[in-house]
Symmetry: C2
DNA sequence: AATTGTAATTAGAATGATTCCAATTAAAAA
DNA sequence: TTTTTAATTGGAATCATTCTAATTACAATT
């Protein structure tokens, strides 16, 4: 599998805006996040990516994930003090919350109306410039479920 | 300074429910959180509490903070991968978000209407039992402000 | 194509918040 | 009291992440 040309282009564009280069490592890590539905940790991304690029180092995975996050291409999701997880930052992902199931350990997206997030500003001090909203939900879903 | 009798009682009650004992250390740490407006980290609580109880260990601070959190007396607040911070879990604190200012490093409460949180359930899978909502806002407020 | 300058990657060491552990101490029950 | 059990303690261990110094890759010039 490999990055399709649209994705590749948006990666290159986003990197270029920040004066950064597109590299094999950044590509393959972007691809790994793009193709993951499960909000993988750096470690998991590392092991997935190593299959295609055995020489890649964990440090590079961390570096690239940080770079991609800074470029707004991916999102870093934190639950309590667990290892960070990563997911694609789509246009509408500003309006995603993340739910963590304590039974399965899985994380899934919860799509919320934009208005939900906009409303937050009403309750913030006037001079507070809101940059990032992290809404993390924890709970349990029945163990019998398929997902 | 010392814990007032109402606070002391609710500490004892909450511990009792879980079959736990009320100890000097748990009291003084509960008191430290109760009297802090600044969402202190374990480390900061440690240094504050040591003034009154020089022999207390950092491990105990961590233990007690965990216990108090489990009892629902205090709340653990995490921003990105920074050290956890703690604040009092008041009845209405279920309806607090936390805002982190990147300029000052300070964390403050943002009180939101209960309805805001209730609405979340609409967007969750029916079988998901929501236990905890962490809403963390990051941004900047003008450096010139007094708070 | 070789050279230069700069950015990215790498392996491994370091960091630092937190947790674990085994021993001691304190509290409650008998 | 004595016994039992829970809590605290200091220090070691953990582990995700970051740092560092050296190497490699890239892009722009010659």
């Amino acid at each position: 599998m490999s990055l399709n040309s649209t994705a590749k282009q948006s990666l290159e564009d986003a990197l270029f805006v920040k004066g950064l280069r597109s590299t094999k490592q950044r590509e393959i890590i972007y691809e790994a996040v793009l193709n993951s539905e499960d909000h993988p940790s750096a470690d998991l991304i590392y092991s997935r990516v190593k299959e295609d690029m055995p020489g890649i180092s964990l440090a590079t995975v961390y570096n690239c994930l940080e770079t991609l996050t800074d470029c707004g291409l991916i999102r870093q999701v934190n639950f309590e003090r667990q290892p960070s997880r990563f997911c694609l930052a789509t246009a509408q992902s500003a309006h995603h919350a993340h739910a963590h199931c304590k039974n399965t350990g899985k994380v899934f997206d919860v799509v919320l109306p934009a208005q939900f997030f906009d409303e937050l500003n009403k309750y913030l001090p006037a001079d507070f410039q809101l940059e990032k909203v992290d809404l993390c939900l924890s709970g349990k879903q029945s163990l019998s479920q398929k997902n």
